[in-house]
Amino acid sequence: MKKILNTYLLLVLLGLPFTANAELKVLACEPEWSALAEEIGGDLVKATSATNALQDPHYIQARPSLISKVRRADLVVCSGAQLEIGWLPMLLSKANNPAVLPGKPGFLEASSVVRRLDVPDNVDRAQGDMHPEGNPHIQMNPHNIARVAQAMGQRMAEIDPDNADGYIRGTEDFIQRWNEAMAGWEARAQELAGKRVVCHHQSWIYLEAWLKLEEVATLEPVPGIPPTATHLSALLKELGTDGNGAEWIIRAPFQSDKASDWLEERTGIPAVMLPLTVGGTEGANSLFGLFDDVLNRLFEAHAGEKSHTGEKI
């Protein structure tokens, strides 16, 4: 034991000089928040994401590499609302980093600063993989991104006061560019209002709220349970061979295309794969590209052109 302690002290002392000029280390649970941290913090931060855009953030293994990332993080940013319940608590408990535990300035739960939708009155696992704190996929409404940006800039300034000026300026600059972009998207998307959609999983309700789309069904019988033949047949009956006015079947890149293609074939509703975060498609190469690409894909599929559903990344 004594030997371990000595080694430990030695490592800490050796480690000190290296921490001197390091950037603020941000670990995001999802790529949208690492992208946002880079937009705000620029060169002041080093942001990484625990997951990539083609991974389903519900189901991630608490891998050793992630534990060591949490160990060294100054700020951990996650969507929260129990999206990462299956792995984040394990990372936090193994990483021995008190600065990033929930309740500390080093932990930011993005969904806590926006209005969460679909907060159930009561929860029962018979209803599937419920999120008692509401739907966690908040990033698909750009107004939410703006709110998280404000909170994130403030946190960065709080944790790294030396560079507070930079974070505040970075936030203001981002918000300005974001507001301009949102005005553009909203003008472009006006004609989508009122359209009906079928979704694989309830990942899109914030997008639907923003674009005023109407969700008529999900391919999953209950959240988190993969689509079943019974459920799909029932859907087919409900939608009919003309699709009953639904305009798209939407799924995320990491969700299997089998169910949506099956339904597309029988109902004629175009199946479309939309990026759920930065990096989900080639076009979604930044937060700005994410919403550009979502609109592009919706319009393309709507115009009856060959959609990108078959694209393999």
């Binding site: 926006v114 696992r125 030396d162």
Partner: protein, 452 residues
């Protein structure tokens, strides 16, 4: 951040030094240092106050709703004067099984490896395995606590056990944490995994032979995670030594200790691995093993030292890290044990004992599509031959070559429910046994995140 990280430890060390040395005669140099630290502190305090003022200003600017699209409503907080809002997270795991054997499991033995702890096959026929109640919550800002209480039914009697009851630090600096209480020892890969997270319905033979299925004990655990790019964790434990592979709480109740190191990482997005080495030193004072270790008169008693070395390796693959659709897991552990001391057999005088034994298992579990998993496992044990004086006793391997082959398939409707079928071809002794098992695992309530 940088202020705290860079200067605070230094400042603390210096302040401490200055006070200690000051008593023995102040030196001008230390005065100067103290002065420097004081001025540093004043400067930072002023800067922080300035920043707080600026933050406040920024916040009040934001408070004016500039974007009217979705007005942010803070969640309505109603203060309720009740005690249950701080209730711990409670979960219950239900487990049941049915086993069929060629031979009576009461006669199960592995020649040369007298079994201790919970080792050995499950009851024949329909039975409940552990029903497990867990509770956990943060104690305050510096401690968190966990309780696991399995309820067994053994020969018709209900027994409530205490499997885990520990408190762990949350706020130690430098990547250090200390756990105290009763816990699964941090050795090997499977030892600290709960029954319901195993990929097979039973433990590998090495765990049964060397760790009494799972080594749980009371004591202190230290874990330190190195601040490296790759995962590197060191752990050490001091334990009471009252449970197999220790026994009798030797050395006035500090009879056992462990050391371990773990490392791991990713290869691309799809592969990740974990490698560990650990060492258990258990000093026993009349440790009971043998088939009827519940009854003193039939027990084999061991007094002496046990050294157990464990190497474990786990490799997981999932296409692009999405284990939901498809995944593969390979794990293998090797154990080597040396025991020195003396064994006492029922009705006999103590005899000297010094023997080396080893064993390993390797298993692979594949999920080709959602909800279904298929697995295979290979077990092997081997023992050096002890002195001829032990011939004819359960301690004598007598040229046996214990092996076991297992196959399993399980189906999970959600991550809270699992049904499993398992087949073992068990050649642990001359009595070759075909074992067929059915198992269910259901969990309700809080369900903690699983470790890698």
């Amino acid at each position: 951040m940088k202020i705290r990280l860079r200067h605070l430890p230094l400042a603390c060390v210096l302040l401490f030094c200055s006070q200690v040395v000051a008593q023995e005669g102040r030196s001008a140099e230390l005065d100067a240092l103290g002065e420097e630290i004081r001025s540093m502190r004043t400067e930072y305090e002023a800067r922080i106050a300035d920043l707080e003022a600026r933050l406040d200003a920024a916040e009040s600017r934001d408070a004016a709703p500039s974007n009217a699209e979705v007005a942010y409503q803070s969640p309505t907080t109603v203060s309720v004067a009740s005690d249950n809002s701080f209730n711990p997270a409670i979960g219950v795991v239900f487990q049941g099984q049915a086993w069929a054997y060629n031979h009576d499991p009461h006669d199960y033995s592995i020649p040369g490896f007298p079994l201790g702890g919970e080792a050995g096959p499950a009851s024949e026929g329909l039975s409940l395995a552990e029903s497990e109640i867990t509770m956990s919550a943060n104690v305050d800002d510096k401690f968190t606590a966990m309780l696991t209480v399995p309820i067994h039914v053994h020969d018709g009697e209900v027994a409530v056990e205490l499997e885990e009851a520990w408190v762990e630090t949350l706020a130690l600096p430098g990547g250090l944490s200390i756990r105290m209480g009763r816990f699964f020892a941090d050795i090997g890969y499977l030892n600290d995994k709960h029954f319901h997270t195993w990929d097979f319905a039973d433990q590998p033979l090495v765990y049964q032979a060397f760790l009494g299925s799972q080594y749980i004990d009371d004591g202190l655990q230290f874990r330190w995670l190195a601040p490296t790019d790759f995962y590197l964790q060191f752990s050490g434990e001091v334990l009471r030594g009252d449970r197999y592979p220790a026994g009798g709480a030797a050395h006035h109740g500090v009879g056992s200790a462990t050391l371990g190191v773990k490392t791991g990482g990713d290869i691309g997005f799809s592969n990740s691995w974990l490698l560990g080495f650990s060492w258990v030193r258990a000093d026993s004072d009349g440790r009971k093993t043998g088939h009827d270790h519940d009854h003193d008169h039939d027990s084999l008693l061991f007094t002496g030292d046990t050294d157990l070395y464990v190497a474990d390796f786990v490799w997981k693959w999932a296409p692009n890290g999405n284990s939901r659709q498809q995944n593969f897991k390979f794990q293998a552990e090797y154990m080597w044990r040396n025991e020195k001391g003396e064994y006492t057999l029922p009705g006999a005088a103590p005899g000297p004992w010094d023997n080396d034994q080893r064993g390993w298992y390797a298993q692979a579990v594949y999920q080709p599509f959602p909800q279904w998993r298929f697995g295979a496992r290979l077990d092997h044990l081997s023992s050096d031959t002890p002195g001829m004086m032990w011939e004819g006793t359960p301690l004598y391997p007598g040229g046996s070559d214990p092996k076991r082959y297992s196959l399993m398939v399980d189906w999970s409707n959600s991550e809270f429910s699992r049904l499993r079928f398992q087949y073992n071809h068990d050649r642990a002794s001359d009595l070759t046994d075909n074992q067929f098992g059915l198992q269910y695992i259901f969990s309700i309530g809080a369900h903690g995140a699983h470790a890698f």
